[in-house]
Subunit: 501 residues, 2 copies
C-alpha cells in the first residue's frame, strides 16, 4: 500500500512504524518484515504502534540512504517474508548440522541487519544449547572473516597471541609484544576494550599512546618495529562480531562456537600464521577447571589445523587477579615498572615470559622462556617497547611514574586475622567498575594481599582509586557488601567421628 | 546522571535512547537496562544512538505514566541490572528443571515488559529445544492464568472444547456450541482470530454477530442461553500469551510447553471443568502423525489431572481442509447451511457431531454422537444458534444466503486428468491470505474437488473469491506457482525387477 513517510532517528534496527489498521491492510504483524520502495528499496522490521496516525509511516533514519526518499514522500510498503536464513536458525534449534552455505547466510544476514534481535537471540541460544562441531565452527570462522577486511603482511611468519580473558589485571600484552619483537619476530597485536571486564588491554594501553589506527598503519608499524599495540575495533576485522555481542551481552551467554569463531576470525583476518592461546583457568572465570581448559585447547588446535594457523595453548592460573593492579593507569604503571626492571609482581613477569617463550620456541628459539626472561632483564624489551610507544604517537621517554592514578583513594581493611583463602575476580571487577574503570582512567584497585598470605585484623586488603569521589565511595560500599576476600584460619573445617547414640 | 528528556512515540518496548558518550558515563550498553527516576520511576531498555545529542535522552511514550515527567524535565538515569528471571531463562538453557517460583517470575516479567524481545526469544528457543516436564508445564499454565482475570460461573459444570488448529476450513465451532447448548449444557466458547491461518473462528463468526464482549457479558449470555461464540482477545484471560506470540511469530516456532500452557491457561481462566481437545492430525499441520497426536493427548490428559480439568482428546483427520469453504463469509455460509439442514459437506457435519457427542457423553448422555446428530437434524441446534446470534447482537432470522462472498471470483483448473492424491493445507492458506482473507470478509476459497476424487483435465479444482480484484489476481498467480493439488493416475510408481547385465 502507499503511505506517507516521515523519518525519525529512533532505532538501531531498521524499522517501520505504522498504525494497527494499516498493518492489517499490509497483512503484517509486529516483528514481521516489510519492503519499503522509494527510488531505492530495502527491507525493515515492522513495528505496529497505535501512536502512529493511519495513512502515515514513521521510518528509522538508517533507512534513508537505502530507499532514497524524504519526509512527506508517498512510498509503497508491502509485506515481506523473513530471510531464508531464519530456516537455518531453526535447523540449529532442531540440532541439525549446518552446511558452510547455511552458516554463511546467517552471518551475512546478521551483518546486513536482515536478522532482527529476536532472531539473533534465537540463533545464539540454539548455538549455546546445541553447539557446533569442528567443521561447522571452521565454516563459521571463515564466514565471519569474509564479512570484513584482511590484513596482508609483506613479512612472514605473523605471530600472535590471545587471552580468552575472564581474569582481571592481565596486563602482560605490552611485555609479551616487546619481548617477541625484541627477539626479531613480528607480532601485530590487536586488543579489545572492556566488554564486561574492568579494563581491556586497549583501555590501559591508550593511557600512554594511541591505539586507534587503521589496518594500513598497523601493517606499517608492525613491519618496521616488529610489534604494535592496536585496538582491533578501529579496523574492519570480522565486524559481525560487534552486532552479535550486543545481543549476547544481555543474555549473559557466550556460546562456545561463537566464542571460538569470534576469536579465530579476528586472528585469521589479521593474517596470523602462528598463534598462542592463553586459557586462564580458575573459579569465577570462563574456564573453571583444567579439564574444561583442555577441551578448549583441543578445539583451538583442531580448528587451527582446519584453518591453516599453527596454534599452541597455554592453560594459565586465574584463581585470582594477575599481579596487583586493576584499572587503566594502575595496570599501565605496573606493566611499565616491570619493563623498567622491577621484579614485582612475579605473577605478571612469569606469565608474560611463559607466553613470550612459547612464541619464541614456535619461531625456532631454544629455551624460549629463558630467552624471554633475558630480553626482559637486559632492557632489550624496554627498548623495543619505547619504539612501539613512539611509533604509536606516545612519549619515547615514558616512565612508569608518568602514570598517576586517581586522586581519590580509600582502603579496604580486614575485619579479622587469618589467611587469604580466596579472592573473587568477579567482585573485584564490579568494584573497579563502580570506581569508574575503565572510562575514568585513574580508577581501579591495588591488591595489597594475595592468596595464601597471612593477614592481621586491621591490615589493608586492597586500595580503591578513582577520579571521582562519589564513585570511590560507591565502590567502597560495594566492597563492604561483596566482601571479595575470604579470610580463614588454617583449620577450615573440623571433622569429628559420628557420635554413638 | 541527570539528563534532559523528551518523549517520543517510538517503540513497543519501554526504551531510553541516549548518545554513546552518555551511555559510557552511565556504564550501559545497547540492550542493557536503565532506571529512570522522575516523580515515579521505572526500568527501560537502553538504546545507544549517535543520533541523540549528548546530554539529552529520548524516552518512549509508554514510560510517561510510570515516571510522571514531561518533555524538558531533567531526570536521573542510572544503570540497572537485568531482572532476576534472566537467570531462570539461563537455567532452562542449561536444561535444568525450573521451580514454580522461577517460572512465575519469568511470566510476570514478560507481562510487565521487564524482559526484552532478546530475552523472550532466548526463553522460547530454550523451551523449544529443552522442553519442560509435566510439573513445569502445569506451573507454567497456572502462572499464566494468574497474570489475568478469571471468569467464575454460577452454573456448573462448564464444558469447553478447543482445536489445536493447523487445518483450514475448520468451521465446526458454531455447530458444536449450538448442539451442546440445545442439549441443556453450558459451553462458553472463546475463540481466536487468525494468527498465521487464513481464518480464525472469530474471523468468520463476526460476519453475522458481535464477538467482542467483556467477561461479564460472556457470563450472562452463557448462563442464560447455554452457549456463546466470543472472541477471547477482548477479555483479559492469560494476557501474557499475546506478548509471547509477537516473538514466536517471526521465529516460526511454537514450543510444545508454551503451546500446552497457552491453551490450558485460557481454559482454566474461563473456568472450564470439562474439556474436549481436538487434535487435527495430518501432513502439513502441527501434528503430522497419529503417534505424535497420541503424545499430545497424553500430555493434555496428564495436565488436566494436575490442573483439575477433566480432559478428553479427539484425534481428527486433517490431511486436507475440513469441508469446502475457507475464508470468513464462505465459512460462515457453509456452517449456517449445515445448521439449516444441508447434508453437505459430510466432513464438517461428522466432525462437529463427533466432538459434540464426546461433550454430551461427558455430561452423562448415552450415545452422544447419535444424540448430537438428532439435535442437528431436528432443528434444535439451529434454534439454539439463533438465540446465540440474537444475544450477540446479530439477526435472529439469519439465513445462509445472507452471507454473500466477494464479488471477484476466479477458477483454478486442472491441467491433467487423474485422482486427487494430495491437497496442501499450507498452500491453500497462503492463497486464501493473498486473496485478502481474513481482513477482507468476502475473500477465500471454495474447494470443488477433495482427496480421492476423479478429476478430468479442464475441471475446476477450486474457486478463489475476493473483495479486491488485484488481490484475487495475486492469489491466482500464487495458485499457479504453488500447485496445491497433486493429481496422479492410479498407478503411482512402477517397480520393476532389476535387470541382469
Amino acid at each position: 500500500m502507499n503511505i506517507k513517510v516521515k523519518f525519525l532517528d529512533i532505532s538501531t534496527e531498521p524499522a517501520v512504524l505504522i498504525n494497527n489498521e494499516d498493518a492489517l491492510k499490509i497483512g503484517g504483524k509486529d516483528n514481521d518484515r516489510v519492503r519499503v520502495e522509494g527510488k531505492g528499496s530495502t527491507t525493515a522490521l515492522l513495528n505496529v504502534s497505535d501512536f502512529v496516525c493511519p495513512g502515515e509511516a514513521i521510518l528509522s533514519s538508517n533507512l534513508k540512504d537505502k530507499i532514497k526518499a524524504s519526509d512527506g514522500d508517498e512510498l509503497n510498503i508491502v509485506y515481506a517474508s523473513s530471510p531464508e536464513s531464519v530456516r537455518n536458525i531453526r535447523k540449529k534449534m532442531d540440532n541439525e548440522k549446518l552446511s558452510k552455505e547455511e552458516i554463511s547466510a546467517i552471518v551475512t544476514d546478521i551483518l546486513e541487519n536482515r536478522l532482527s534481535k529476536i532472531e539473533i537471540s534465537a540463533w545464539l541460544t540454539a548455538l549455546y544449547i546445541n553447539c557446533m562441531d569442528i567443521d561447522e565452527i571452521a565454516a563459521f570462522t571463515e564466514a565471519m572473516v569474509d564479512t570484513g577486511d584482511r590484513v596482508v603482511f609483506d613479512r612472514s611468519p605473523v605471530y600472535d597471541f590471545h587471552s580468552m580473558g575472564g581474569v582481571p589485571g592481565n596486563k602482560i600484552t605490552p611485555i609479551v609484544v616487546s619481548i617477541v619483537a625484541a627477539a626479531g619476530f613480528m607480532l601485530p597485536k590487536t586488543s579489545s576494550r572492556a566488554i564486561s571486564s574492568a579494563c581491556g588491554t586497549s583501555d590501559f594501553v591508550e593511557t600512554f599512546c594511541d591505539v586507534e589506527m587503521d589496518a594500513e598503519t598497523l601493517k606499517r608499524i608492525s613491519e618496521k618495529v616488529g610489534g604494535v599495540l592496536a585496538w582491533g575495533g578501529a579496523m574492519n576485522l570480522a565486524p559481525v562480531d560487534d552486532l552479535v555481542i550486543k545481543v549476547e551481552h544481555p543474555l549473559g551467554i557466550n556460546p562456545r562456537a561463537q566464542m571460538l569463531a569470534s576469536i579465530l576470525s579476528k586472528k585469521l583476518a589479521i593474517g596470523a600464521t602462528h598463534l598462542v592461546m592463553d586459557i586462564p583457568t580458575g573459579s569465577g572465570t570462563k574456564v573453571p577447571t583444567i579439564e574444561v581448559a583442555r577441551t578448549y585447547a583441543r578445539d583451538f588446535m583442531d580448528l587451527g589445523e582446519k584453518l591453516g594457523i599453527h596454534i599452541e595453548c597455554a592453560i594459565t592460573y586465574a584463581d585470582q587477579p594477575v599481579g596487583s593492579a586493576i584499572g587503566p593507569k594502575l595496570e599501565a604503571r605496573e606493566c611499565i615498572r616491570i619493563l623498567e626492571g622491577e621484579k614485582h609482581p612475579a605473577s605478571v613477569i612469569e606469565k608474560a615470559c611463559d607466553i613470550a617463550g612459547i612464541i619464541l620456541e614456535m619461531g625456532g628459539v631454544a629455551n624460549g622462556g629463558e630467552k624471554a626472561r633475558e630480553l626482559l632483564d637486559s632492557g632489550a624489551a624496554m627498548k623495543k617497547f619505547r619504539e612501539i610507544v613512539a611509533a604509536q604517537g606516545g612519549n619515547r621517554d615514558i616512565k612508569s611514574s608518568d602514570l598517576v592514578p586517581g586522586a581519590y583513594v580509600t582502603e579496604v581493611i580486614s575485619s579479622k586475622s587469618g589467611y587469604v583463602h580466596a579472592i573473587s575476580n568477579k567482585d573485584l571487577v564490579s568494584i573497579a567498575k563502580a570506581a569508574g574503570s575503565p572510562s575514568d582512567k585513574g580508577a581501579g584497585i591495588i591488591l595489597m594481599k594475595k592468596k595464601g598470605q597471612r593477614v592481621e585484623k586491621g591490615d589493608v586488603l586492597f586500595e580503591i582509586y578513582g577520579d571521582n569521589e562519589a564513585k570511590v565511595d560507591r565502590a567502597k560500599e560495594l566492597a563492604a557488601k561483596y566482601k571479595p576476600y575470604e579470610i580463614e584460619g588454617m583449620l577450615l573445617k573440623r571433622v569429628t567421628a559420628p557420635r554413638t547414640r
